[in-house]
Symmetry: C3
Subunit: 138 residues, 3 copies
């Protein structure tokens, strides 16, 4: 059995946007009780990641680290059609990931206690991000 | 068909812990001959990765690299509730990955000759890590 | 339903090699109309990634960034059996990924407009890379 649900996530600049409850709802609606849930973002400048969900400082620290590691406007970058954060956003996406897989158990994503699912916006301006949740199982 | 098996991996500080044989056993027990195997760690400070499995120096070099890239106690980090390796462990997890997928062929994970599956502990102290192996296929 | 297809990708040194059309062909041939497509590389010194597919400068910038981040012949590395790019290639693989998953919809990988699928060769010399495309669905 395969069920899919599309989410549209409105972002307001760089940072993490929680989507755990939307994903859990999609899994519940699918009727799949055991299997895998894939969450995929259809863009090259935003990611989907698992991150600690209790202390918002973790999200701030993660982004501070990535901002220092992959500098906007790095003179190394030649691709800057959409601004100094354009190429940095592509690199950040490759260093993180476009999709994640979580086991489905008892009709829910079997996340660890501290694991939350987040869309990670890498551009500094607002975007509308298309995300597909796919649930494969029985 | 979906089959799952839970592994508990005891770690003794930062580093790689091989789980290839446990995963292969779970695939064999599942009875699935063709499909996908997902290995997922239910934590935000440990990863599951594929790494070269022949020369232990590769594992040492990989960790030396990550330790230099993501410094424990980096003054950039504000989240340090569990010590100087706390936030570094979260960043290292995001830069690597929480789960991996390997094709199942002839009832086994179809790994390359040099590919081993490892739990990567990012905390400096001992932990017990919950890992779920999910096999989807026929 | 599970269908697989093996691709052999000849690389001519470090860089990105597009395989989107080969993957889309494998999905079309599978007869699966809805599900997940996994693309897996059976090596520890090459990756499979999604990258911007319109401007080749993005690929050049990405590799320039990774070459600066993970230096060939870094004195930190002890594993250099196959040359100065050997260990760097392993690290680059771990920082990116060995496989990716894309939702299948209407018999095709449902990629975003700018998403292309690439084998990312991390070694500086030519290699032949084995890639398995697995399509799970209905």
């Amino acid at each position: 059995m395969v069920r899919t649900k599309e989410l549209n996530v409105s972002t307001r600049g760089r940072g993490l946007y929680p989507i755990t409850s939307e994903v859990q709802r999609a899994v519940a609606e699918s009727g799949v009780t055991a299997g895998l849930c894939n969450v995929f973002v259809h863009h090259t400048s935003a990611s989907v990641i698992l991150c600690e969900n209790a202390d918002p400082v973790v999200q701030r620290d993660l982004d501070a680290f990535l901002s220092r590691l992959v500098k906007d406007g790095d003179p190394l970058f030649r691709h800057d059609a959409e601004g100094p954060d354009d190429m940095a956003a592509h690199v950040r996406t490759v260093l993180t990931q476009n999709s994640l897989n979580v086991p489905v158990r008892d009709g829910r994503c079997d996340l660890g206690t501290w694991q939350g699912i987040f869309v990670y916006e890498h551009r500094t301006s607002s975007h509308r991000r298309r995300v597909t949740v796919s649930i494969v199982g029985e």
